[in-house]
């Protein structure tokens, strides 16, 4: 499947990544090579094969919804790049 620089820009936006104009041709070329590699999957017949999302087909194990750890708000907030009064700070969203 051929991929255009515009396709790559569209996927980049979905992934919230920016690609500079100067890098775009090379990123597109390498991206296309990886897709070329995985296109090989089309040469195998998998009709009626159930997709496998977990190697042992394990059932999802659930546990009771109980509090098991104390609140560590301050310790966790300490990792935030910008915060104030227990809130994460981001640029203004609504005028």
């Amino acid at each position: 499947m051929s991929v255009s620089p515009q396709d790559v820009e569209k996927v980049a936006l979905l992934a919230r990544l920016t690609i500079s104009e100067s890098d775009l041709p090379e990123v597109t070329e390498r991206f296309a090579r990886v897709l070329g590699l995985v296109d090989e999957l089309n040469t195998i017949d998998t009709q009626d094969v159930v997709p496998m999302s977990n190697p042992h087909d394990m059932e999802q194990r659930l546990r009771p919804d109980a509090v098991t750890r104390s609140n560590e708000r301050e310790a966790l907030m300490a990792s935030a790049p910008s915060q104030e009064q227990g809130y994460f700070l981001v640029p203004k969203v609504i005028d």
């Binding site: 995985v38 999957l41 190697p55 394990m58 300490a78 990792s79 640029p91």
Partner: protein
């Protein structure tokens, strides 16, 4: 006891010395810290060293040893791959994104090993977010292969492998999503074990591809790996994919008697594409196992060829979902002066992630996007089942499957960096094992022109014991695992 003897002793031997009070954990820890100091400048294997914390734990271990209260790894120094969250100790995952990240909790592997008495010396360098086979994608610089400083150590657990091979620690941890324990173990001449998916909790391991990631030990012997696996493994309420199975005493159960063991040799691994020198070393190792009573049987894994294509859809797809959390808001890197929220997301991610990580996010996002999901992601999950079925059928005939760990020895820096596909081929013999969730280990099988090669042994689900037994027997009958790089060239 000279430092050199201490630095190259196995964990099992050191455990005995500590028990006998022939050496203290403090002395041993000092010797390792000194070795990190001497060798790390040349190797760049360790990102963060915690000397004070290590010496405090060593003294605490010594007092436990004196009181006879020791556990399985009391007083043994260890380095963790920098993918394991360590409370209060910076955890970078080899990325600018997490350059200053200090976790508020320990990974389950870290807390379990702490409970068994290990002394954590620091954190090892790695490919960024574990995406790479050469350690060249680390934001913190490449790790050098101690056998030849102009070559890569393998990856992504390349820092761990290089540190272990040079005596910085007798025991290190790694993670393996597509070969990241086994391939660097092969390239650095150490033993590395990727356990069955679900054997070891993933809680607190920075996620790459959640249905493939698994943590495991790297050590100088299979015996040491057996000991460490028991310390790391077990059901964890914090990881719903950890298996609810008892954890055997892998070390206590080691059995070198291989009489009747059936080892399968996949025709697809031993075909004309296999490098002749690698084939010769792998066959030499297998004939040792044959002499010890095992029988070698040709088998087929007919869909092996599809493992790379399958992996390079599933792993990037899962990675793109996992790495969506790095938004520059809650933790991790944030760009300077964002003009608005969208700009903050876009630049924080593009500046915080390296090239290979961004490529995999792009591929994964594409494979999951509307219109392509069925053709890529769903298709890859179907082929994953076909590949897994190949293994299941093969294990009806044999107990262990053997092959090379990597297609060759360590290669020079830059040799494969410009071509992502060439780099992906490094894991051609290891990827399928992750897709099928099986245990696999790499054990040294001798040298080619002075560079190490590994034999890979693959086991049935949750049967780490059998591959550990075979590797242990090989290490009793040969001394390939004792070969060491020349450390004088590194220190000078």
């Amino acid at each position: 006891m000279t430092d050199s003897t201490l630095l190259h002793a196995s964990v099992c031997h050191l455990r005995q010395l500590l028990q006998d009070r022939a050496v203290s954990s403090e002395e041993l820890t000092q010797a390792c810290l000194k070795q990190i100091n001497v060798a790390n400048e040349a190797l760049n294997a360790v990102i963060t060293v915690c000397p004070e914390q290590a010496l405090d734990s060593a003294r605490a271990a010594d007092s436990k040893l004196a009181k006879g209260e020791s556990k399985s790894l009391t007083g043994i120094p260890l380095l963790h791959k920098d993918i394991f969250c360590t409370r209060g100790v910076r955890t970078t995952c080899g990325s600018r994104m997490l350059e200053h990240f200090v976790p508020a909790y320990d990974a389950t592997v870290v807390s379990k090993m702490k409970a068994e008495g290990v002394v954590m010396l620091g954190k090892c360098n790695m490919d960024e977010f574990a995406m790479g086979s050469s350690n060249e994608t680390s934001f913190f610089g490449t790790v050098k292969n101690p056998w030849d400083l102009s070559c890569v150590p393998g990856g992504s657990s390349g820092g761990s492998a290089a540190a272990l091979a040079t005596g910085m620690a007798p025991l290190v941890t790694g993670t393996d999503t597509g070969g990241s324990i086994r391939q660097p173990a092969s390239l650095c001449g150490v033993t590395g074990l990727k356990p069955t998916y679900g054997r070891v909790s993933r809680l607190g391991i920075i996620a790459f591809a959640s249905s493939l990631d698994q943590a495991g030990p790297m050590a100088r012997t299979a015996e040491d790996c057996a000991l460490a696996l028991t310390a790391m493994a077990g059901m964890d309420d914090g990881d719903s994919t950890s298996a609810n199975l008892p954890v055997p005493d892998f070390h206590g159960a080691l059995n070198p008697n291989l009489q009747g063991l059936r080892i399968g040799l996949p025709r697809e691994y031993f075909n004309d594409d296999l490098n002749a020198d690698v084939r010769a070393r792998v066959m030499a190792a297998l004939s040792e196992l044959e002499k010890a009573g095992a029988s070698l049987i040709d088998i087929d894994l007919p869909h092996s060829h599809y493992a790379i294509a399958t992996y390079y859809v599933i792993a990037p797809a899962e990675a793109s979902a996992n790495l969506a959390r790095y938004d520059g808001v809650r933790f991790g890197y944030r760009c300077e002066q964002p003009s608005d929220l969208e700009d903050l997301y876009l630049r924080s991610r593009s500046e915080g992630f390296g090239e290979e990580v961004q490529r995999r996010i792009l591929v994964g996002t594409y494979a999951l996007s509307a219109g392509f999901y069925d053709a890529y992601f769903n298709k890859a999950q179907q082929v994953r089942r076909v590949i897994t079925e190949d293994f299941r059928r093969a294990f009806e005939q044999v107990d262990v499957i053997a092959g090379p760990s990597a297609p060759g020895v360590a290669f020079p820096f830059g040799a494969k960096q410009q071509d992502p596909i060439a780099m992906y081929m490094e894991d051609i013999y290891t990827l399928a094992v992750n897709l099928a969730g099986l245990p696999g280990l790499s054990t040294p099988a001798g040298l080619i022109n002075g560079m190490p090669v590994g034999l890979q042994l693959i086991g049935k689900p949750f049967d780490e014991q059998t591959i550990l037994n075979a590797a242990h027997r090989l290490q009793m009958d040969t001394d390939w695992h004792s070969a060491r790089p020349n450390l004088e060239t590194i220190a000078s």
